[in-house]
Assembly symmetry: C2
Homo-oligomer: 439 residues x 2
């Protein structure tokens, strides 16, 4: 047993095992420090592929490797499964609850990579009507809702109710929403082919609602146009300049730019419209006097530290810096930057080097063999975009076995037609209500 109490090395505490925390820890591998990584889940989550768990392509484990296993060869690193309740920047302690037991963990340097949570933009009541797309639990719940909805449609005698079970409303036209809408069409047009005797999955209606003027607004106008065309080709019903202004257990109300409203009866509603910084950011801002931006992200110095607290770093989705987007790549690079900064400081080099983001681009899969990619000099759609998507996702998936496993599943799902993970378990079995309310 290693007794961390007696270890006098510089102690780095990292909050969060997402991309930011993961790459901070990796950057510290050869530093003369001990590291404690705290997360409320036992896994790293490859969030960009959550929609593939929700639609039955990948298994939970394939996008969520155990954090302990990723770091098994990091002898100076301890992984704590616990919920951080607060940070005390004055006594330099993190207050954690592990299986109900409160603990205080003292740090010398702190990296806060607590990420973001689903934001319903003031409509907190929507939480009960539309599942978010942030955690593995979200994806598992959605998987049950989606496959359960087809089962219920097959059993339903009433035409209107049947149509509502076969209608899916995706709110938010960013990469998550676009990928989800595309996969729902793939699922209904290919994967469920010949599975049902009463319903025709081809008649599935997928509605994509975006408040702004175009889909994938972060990727440039040309790719937005390609995406809109591809979505239309697939039969996704896209509403731009449109807001969801009402939700109830049987459907949503969409308000268009001209003030007209559209009622869509839909059993399954997926909220991919927005996120805001983890509540831990607000607590830290209050304790340090730092400011939060409108998305609940903490404003940091150019080197990712909290103003006046050079020992506290904030990275990834919780960090507000230079209007950087909340994407995996920002978390990876900022996490890595902080790890290296701490290592350099311990070598006596305390220059506060600013974080410079190298935009490696953005990708979004539309359907099998079709994606849009804005990567370096490449701004492409279609098959070429999809091949780029494939290479990038295989490269970034954590660990050889997940790369291999995902490739095999993609072969099954895209070249073949099947979905591995369709088993309905727990409350998704017969007769239970698929509304997220009772989750």
């Amino acid at each position: 047993m290693i007794n961390n109490q007696e270890d006098t090395r510089h102690h780095v505490v990292i909050i969060g095992s997402g991309f930011g925390g993961l790459f901070a820890a990796k950057a510290l591998r050869r530093a003369p420090v001990r590291v404690t990584l705290i997360d409320r889940t036992n896994h790293h989550l490859f969030q960009p592929l959550l929609y593939q768990v929700a639609t039955g392509i990948l298994s939970e484990g394939q996008i969520a490797p155990a954090t302990r296993d990723i770091f098994r060869n990091y002898a100076s690193m301890r992984v704590v499964l616990g919920e951080v309740e607060s940070i005390d920047p004055h006594s330099r302690k993190v207050h954690v609850r592990e299986f109900g037991q409160p603990h205080a963990i003292a740090y010398d340097s702190l990296i806060v990579a607590a990420g973001a949570v689903t934001s319903y933009f003031g409509h907190d009541e929507f939480r009960h009507e539309a599942s978010g797309m942030k955690s593995l639990d979200d994806a598992i719940r959605l998987r049950g809702q989606i496959f359960g909805a087809f089962e219920r449609a097959e059993a339903e005698e009433d035409d209107e109710r049947r149509a509502a079970f076969m209608t899916f409303v995706v709110i938010g036209g960013g990469p998550t929403g676009v990928e989800m809408a595309g996969q729902l069409k793939e699922l209904s047009r290919r994967a469920l082919r010949s599975n049902y005797r009463r319903i025709d999955p081809h008649s599935t209606r997928v509605v994509l609602v975006e408040g702004g003027e175009r889909l994938l607004a972060g990727m440039g106008e040309r790719l937005s146009r390609i995406t809109a065309r591809d979505m239309a080709d697939m039969g996704v019903e896209v509403h731009l300049h449109a807001m969801v202004t009402g939700m109830d257990p049987s459907g949503v109300e969409i308000t268009m730019q001209d003030g007209s409203t559209l009622r869509v009866d839909a059993a399954t509603r997926i909220w991919a419209a927005g996120t805001r910084g983890s509540p831990l950011g607000a607590q830290l801002a209050e304790a340090t006097g730092a400011t939060l931006d409108r998305a609940g992200r903490l404003q940091v110095e150019p080197d990712c530290t909290v103003p006046g607290h050079p020992d506290i770093f904030v990275v990834g989705d919780l960090m507000a810096l230079d209007d950087l987007p909340g994407v995996a790549e920002v978390a990876i690079q900022s996490g890595s930057h902080c790890g290296h900064t701490i290592h350099r400081r311990l070598k006596g080099n305390d220059v506060r080097r600013p974080f410079k983001y190298h935009d490696l681009g953005t990708l979004a899969a539309i359907s099998r063999f079709r994606a849009v990619a804005d990567v370096g000099p490449f701004k492409v759609g279609g098959l070429l975009g999809w091949l780029l998507w494939l290479v990038v996702h295989i490269t970034f998936l954590t660990g050889f076995k997940n790369r291999f496993g995902a490739l095999a599943r993609w072969a099954v799902s895209f070249v073949g037609h099947g979905r591995y993970e369709r088993a309905l378990t727990g409350r998704w079995a017969t007769g239970e209500d698929p509304s997220p309310d009772s989750a």
Copy 2:
């Protein structure tokens, strides 16, 4: 849309999508019938590999392919996701509840393949203290308990409580219990290696409790001896002639043959001791005057029909005939036999051909590269047994993609050391109680 109401072909209703129901439906593929297959789950379950889901090797989908997808090319077959409430042999109807709605489904021939449920042998209160190993939900719950127990041990300050989290009691020394005990040792000795900083997973205690005089009693004395030796080599603590006579939230009481008792504090208890026929068997026995045996199985005629009801067949684990064991192979062959019998009858050949079971043998995996196999002329242990185990399981897994996927996972788990599926989700996250009671 196909309107089954207007189809005048002979209607075969199959209850259960386990091995019995699956092979009955396959045998009817070319018969001039329409088939309705009813199950309360949406999947076929490859039960012999449930322990691999519980220990993180395989994903749910790999052992539980969607029933609809298996039969997607069977145009005359309808799959109903519903709970059978009763069978009325006089009006020839099955009463089903689909998503809360009651329906009656009329049949011309009925195949009851409803299987078995976990039996606590009169100790129904044990249900809250020890998880069964029959359904996918059981395996997922156990997976959460097992990986959660190591997490809790790592966080635990108290030595005794830590030891209890690292103690696993498996009740029942048949194939399920032996395979589970072996995998728990594999998990703690290899898969979790270097994952923890405070606990040493090597010190995990696995206790296997068997009421009879030997392990794998169905396989002959020599293989029982090999199994006992292999279990001892792995450090599994085996108690023969021993019964669990008490259970509470912190452990079990084991009573030995000589009347002495042993208290084992263990957070995780797995019940692999026994099963009894589905309650539907009792309802059918009452309605037809048939007899149930002590294990709740319905006594059938030599051709698997219910006495006096040649249109009702009972197969698999719910069938009592010639003391056949409750194994997959009996379900497969009896299901197939009934399908063929119905097909023959429709051709005018109504000879009541008795069901003859061809014992293809039994296998149980002990650890990676080690199994005992009693297959035809082979009664072997060790690596040769394991190779037989591998060939048989790959052959019987349903569908190419599951075969390929399982092989890949086995390569990762047995040649490598990792476990894919370790993500703790839902109630298994921080701080929740891992007792099955609150499941």
